[in-house]
């Protein structure tokens, strides 16, 4: 740009203006530097062209919707494959019960609201959860019903238990249920709580 001082032997041009003792060379822009700029610009143009003008690639939201739908399908399939018998069997498997106990006792998980002894009371104080060591079940006491509550949470989440499906996953949920079931016997009487929501009532009555 500035060629006031032609440089015969490739010496850098020193501009003649001096600012408070500061002088400036007028070196050429480094090529590698220019190329990083050009490449970034080219990348912008090509990527934009591909996405907007050629319509390549999927949008974020569509891609997400698809993945989540697939996962939900897989979850539903897993759900269908579980039966009461399997869960009772699992509750007699010491390894599974032990793993379930570990999850249950993890600070911040089940133990926080249901207490270490499943009584939902700690040192006489009532905890937010319901007792799991008696025979009264608000949302149904069949293994599959307990399983469902752990996965999905109570019908009205703000009034009861949170959903643990995404936090724990299928395997750990069944282990926790096995741990709870290990405090019970197959065939013991199940009573409904007075405040059982109507949606759960028919299932429990069955």
């Amino acid at each position: 740009m500035d060629s006031k001082k032609p440089s015969p032997n490739n010496e850098p041009v020193l501009r003649d203006h001096v600012y408070d003792g500061i002088q400036e060379y007028d070196q050429k822009l480094p090529n590698w530097w220019l190329f990083t700029l050009y490449i970034a610009i080219a990348y912008f143009v090509i990527h934009w062209l591909c996405y907007y003008q050629l319509g390549l690639g999927s949008s974020d939201t569509l891609a997400m919707d698809k993945v989540m739908a697939e996962m939900q399908q897989a979850r539903d399939k897993q759900m269908e494959s579980i039966t009461d018998e399997q869960l009772w069997a699992l509750s007699r498997n010491p390894a599974a019960v032990e793993a379930g106990k570990a999850t249950y006792m993890t600070p911040g998980m089940c133990v926080t609201c249901h207490a270490p002894d499943l009584s939902a009371t700690l040192a006489g104080a009532k905890l937010p959860g319901l007792p799991l060591n008696d025979q009264e079940w608000k949302h149904g006491g069949k293994p599959i019903e307990i399983f469902k509550i752990v996965r999905k949470g109570s019908p009205d989440l703000s009034k009861g238990m949170a959903a643990w499906e995404l936090v724990l996953g299928m395997k750990r949920v069944s282990e926790v249920v096995a741990f709870v079931l290990s405090h019970h016997k197959e065939g013991e009487p199940i009573t409904r709580a007075v405040d059982t929501p109507p949606a759960a009532a028919p299932a429990a009555a069955k």
């Binding site: 408070d20 070196q27 220019l34 003008q53 319509g55 993945v67 609201c113 009205d156 996953g169």
Partner: protein, 793 residues
């Protein structure tokens, strides 16, 4: 080129104000770093949340504001006042203005230091200060600007040196950013609602936030580098034309990059794409600054061994290079999906703030102190110790944050074997990074230690000398040749015609409907080729024009403003006009009931957003952990938006209705009772205070003014509604044997938390969903997302 020197007159520089700013910066540097070390410790030791006003949420804004505005701000002013007087060969414009600037700025800092711990906050990062202080900042900034431009006006040096270009860009751009992002309507003397809400607020906030980094922490410091580095190295600057190219590309591109803080969020994709690509394009211009700094040292590298000033400058510039390489990297959407909301970003900003700003400041102070007090530096070994402990400190800090950010990111993304559930709870990942958060305290502590050593060193230096104001014989410039450029000469010339022509065509490519966009792109390529050919043929006239421009400070300032305003206009105007509640076709959030609004304001003032985001990104791990991805409309009425920028705790976008009120109560009283090993501060004080009923009607009135569709309600109605809801929650808590006052802040916050994530689905009107018309005429601009071929956005 040089004007005729008529007479030489002695001029005394105003070095007193430089000394004042320098000392203020040193002192506030200590404050900012102390606050940093303290809040970093709180992350591991929740017990350090000693009192309501010492909680992390309130002190983190204090730390960031102190570091940016008090520490770097004062440092910048010291550097600008010192160098501008010398580069203009005249005293600062007006001594009274200099004084008002200095004392006004310190008063603002004191006001900030009082109000932030009190919980008075606007709830937007680096823009937390309440509106009366905002006005003070704007006024003082204008005082600074007037003082600066007065100096340029009466300068005795015809041409503007590159350092001044950067100062001009700083002054003009910060004013623009600050004012737009702080536009708000007061509801009381200490509270206001910003005029933008939801996605608009997000975009404006990060346009501001990112460019606070660019034009408050970068351009002024680059200007300072351009003055002090060649002075200290006693070598010519590496390349004048690199200065030109990197200055103009930097100020033009930087403004566009803001949306990279909102990648993978509900921000429209075209803005995310612009944010990402402009960040990538910004890499080279940023490195231009680094090159001009580092390569200036060619032939003087031996000074690196002996001169602590050079050591600090070179390390500072190197950190700048590292930071501006990391920045574009983090702006890539795929990288960002891991790094964002994590400690990686924290490490990134600190390599900038400590490495670049901190070291440039230290180098400048070591250079200035002997000159301003006419003495010698007290101890070079102490300065060397400062350098090494500081460098080690930053490296420890940054590396710890890299590991922490990547590890926590990976752990949060881990899924169970069947791929259907997340593997780790948020608390698991928190425990994993605790040792790294400890290392960070040590690294930051080392940097602080170095800084304190500098304080002692400079104190001893100052004590050994006496303050002097430099007096110089200066040839008075005969005005006549400079500052004569008119509109025509400024705007109608080859360089501008080529630049604007190309830019318009590129914009046509981005915003024109299908068909016309491609045509515009082809035209842009042809036009660009022709422009380059023309430049090659007539580069002399281009260079001469630029030399002329440098002798005309007002046209230069106007062109700088044009360069920085374009990016913001193009991103913000479409967002404000299109992405408003009435255009949302997807979900729209439910209005906050009065009590919930009161709770929200408490959430904002406690600074919960410092640790909790409210934005579930379009990423599988986010959706698996927190629920469906957030829609643009789900926060459209939020003034301010609370999408957050860091997850020290989990996302709260869909927290509402997930847990009983009693859980929230226990958790707020003592977070560890519900979430063992959590590092959240306790909020028991919410239980003892009543929420602010008095200003609620005014608040709702202001929100109505801002377009939030509240039905008309009178004051008693609003208060009654709030109390009714409070009673409901208190009654519900009573079942769990918890007694709370129905008018307590606790109840309000619980009401707010339970509301998060509630939305309505408006009826979609078919007529509104217009697809591409097929015919590209008439050429009205369209949002790229809606014109995309092959499927919706």
């Amino acid at each position: 080129m040089t004007s005729t020197a008529a007479s030489k007159v002695p001029i005394e520089f105003n070095d007193k104000v430089v000394r004042q700013f320098m000392l203020a910066s040193i002192i506030f540097g200590v404050v900012a770093m102390l606050a940093g070390v303290f809040i970093a410790s709180q992350l591991n030791y929740h017990q350090l949340n000693l009192a309501e006003w010492l909680t992390f949420g309130r002190l983190r804004p204090l730390h960031t504001n102190a570091a940016i505005f008090a520490f770097v701000g004062n440092m910048m002013f010291a550097g600008i006042y010192y160098s501008t007087q010398r580069l203009c060969k005249c005293r600062m414009g007006n001594d009274t203005l200099s004084n008002i600037h200095f004392w006004g700025w310190q008063l603002i800092i004191v006001a900030a230091a009082i109000t932030l711990p009190m919980g008075l906050s606007r709830g937007k990062e680096y823009a937390e200060l309440i509106w009366p202080i905002n006005i003070a900042v704007a006024v003082i900034w204008v005082v600074f600007a007037v003082n600066f431009f007065l100096t340029l006006h009466k300068r005795n040096e015809p041409s503007l040196y590159v350092a001044l270009w950067f100062y001009i860009a700083t002054i003009v751009t910060v004013a623009m950013l600050y004012i737009v992002n702080h536009l708000s309507i007061p509801t009381s003397w200490t509270h206001s609602y910003g005029i933008f809400g939801g996605v608009q607020d997000g975009l404006v906030q990060w346009w501001y936030g990112h460019n606070a980094v660019a034009f408050f922490l970068t351009t002024p410091i680059l200007g300072i580098m351009y003055y002090f580095l060649p002075k200290a190295a006693e070598r010519p600057v590496y390349s004048y034309r690199l200065s030109i190219v990197h200055f103009w590309s930097l100020v033009f591109l930087y403004i566009w990059a803001g949306p990279h803080h909102l990648l993978n969020t509900a921000l429209p994709k075209w803005l995310q794409m612009l944010g990402m690509f402009f960040s990538l394009m910004l890499w080279a211009p940023s490195w231009g600054g680094m090159l001009n700094g580092l390569l200036t040292l060619r032939g003087a590298w031996d000074k690196l061994r002996t001169d602590p000033v050079i050591k600090f400058f070179i390390a500072g510039v190197t950190f700048y290079g590292m930071c501006t390489f990391e920045g574009p990297l983090l702006s890539i959407r795929a990288v960002n999906s891991l790094s964002h909301y994590s400690d990686w970003t924290i490490g990134h900003v600190h390599s900038g703030a400590l490495g670049w700003n901190g070291f440039m400041a230290a180098g400048m102070f070591y250079w200035l102190a002997p000159r301003l007090w006419n003495t010698k530096l007290y101890s070079v070994p102490m300065a060397n110790f400062h350098f090494w402990i500081g460098t080690l400190g930053i490296l420890l800090y940054v590396v710890a944050m890299w590991i922490s950010g990547i590890m926590q990111g990976l752990m949060l993304n881990q899924v169970t074997a069947d791929g259907l559930a997340v593997q780790n709870t948020f608390l698991d990942t928190l425990q994993a990074i605790r040792p790294l958060m400890g290392l960070r305290v040590i690294g930051g502590g080392m940097f602080l230690l170095g800084w304190l050593v500098m304080c002692v060193n400079l104190w001893k230096t100052i004590r050994s000398g006496t303050p002097v104001n430099e007096v110089r014989e200066v040839a008075v410039l005969q005005h006549g040749k400079t500052d004569t450029m008119g509109m025509k000469e400024t705007f109608f010339n080859d360089p501008l015609a080529c630049t604007f022509g190309a830019m318009l065509l590129i914009l046509g490519w981005i915003f024109l409907p299908p068909g016309a966009d491609i045509a515009s792109l082809i035209c842009a390529c042809v036009f660009g080729y022709m422009a380059v050919r023309r430049f090659q043929k007539t580069s002399h006239t281009w260079a001469n024009w630029y030399d002329r421009l440098l002798q005309n400070y007002l046209p230069f300032t106007v062109l700088t403003f044009v360069a920085v305003v374009i990016g913001g206009l193009i991103q913000i105007i479409p967002t404000v006009t299109v992405n408003s509640a009435k255009n949302v076709e997807d979900r729209v959030q439910k209005l906050y009931e009065p009590l919930e609004l009161a709770g929200r304001d408490i959430y904002v003032s406690e600074g919960c957003y410092n640790c909790h985001s409210q934005m579930i990104r379009t990423l599988v791990p986010d959706v698996m952990r927190y629920g469906e991805y957030s829609r643009l409309g789900e926060s459209i009425y939020d003034h301010p938006f609370q999408w957050g920028s860091k997850r020290t705790g989990p996302d709260l976008a869909r927290e509402g209705g997930q847990r009983p009120n009693s859980w929230h109560y226990e958790h707020l009283m003592d977070p560890r009772s519900m979430s063992p090993q959590s590092n959240m501060p306790p909020y028991a004080h919410l239980n003892t205070k009543a929420f602010d009923q008095k200003t609620l009607p005014r608040k709702i009135a202001v929100l109505r003014q801002l377009g939030v569709p509240y039905p008309p309600m009178d004051a008693t109605e609003i208060k009654m509604k709030a109390l009714e809801q409070g009673v409901k929650i208190a009654t519900d808590l009573k079942i769990s044997n918890i007694v709370v006052r129905p008018d307590s802040e606790m109840v309000a916050v619980i009401a707010y938390l339970q509301k998060l994530g509630q939305f309505e689905q408006p009826a979609v009107e078919e007529a509104l969903t217009h697809k591409g018309q097929g015919v590209p005429f008439p050429l009205s601009p369209v949002i790229p997302d809606s014109a995309r071929r092959n499927g919706s956005q």
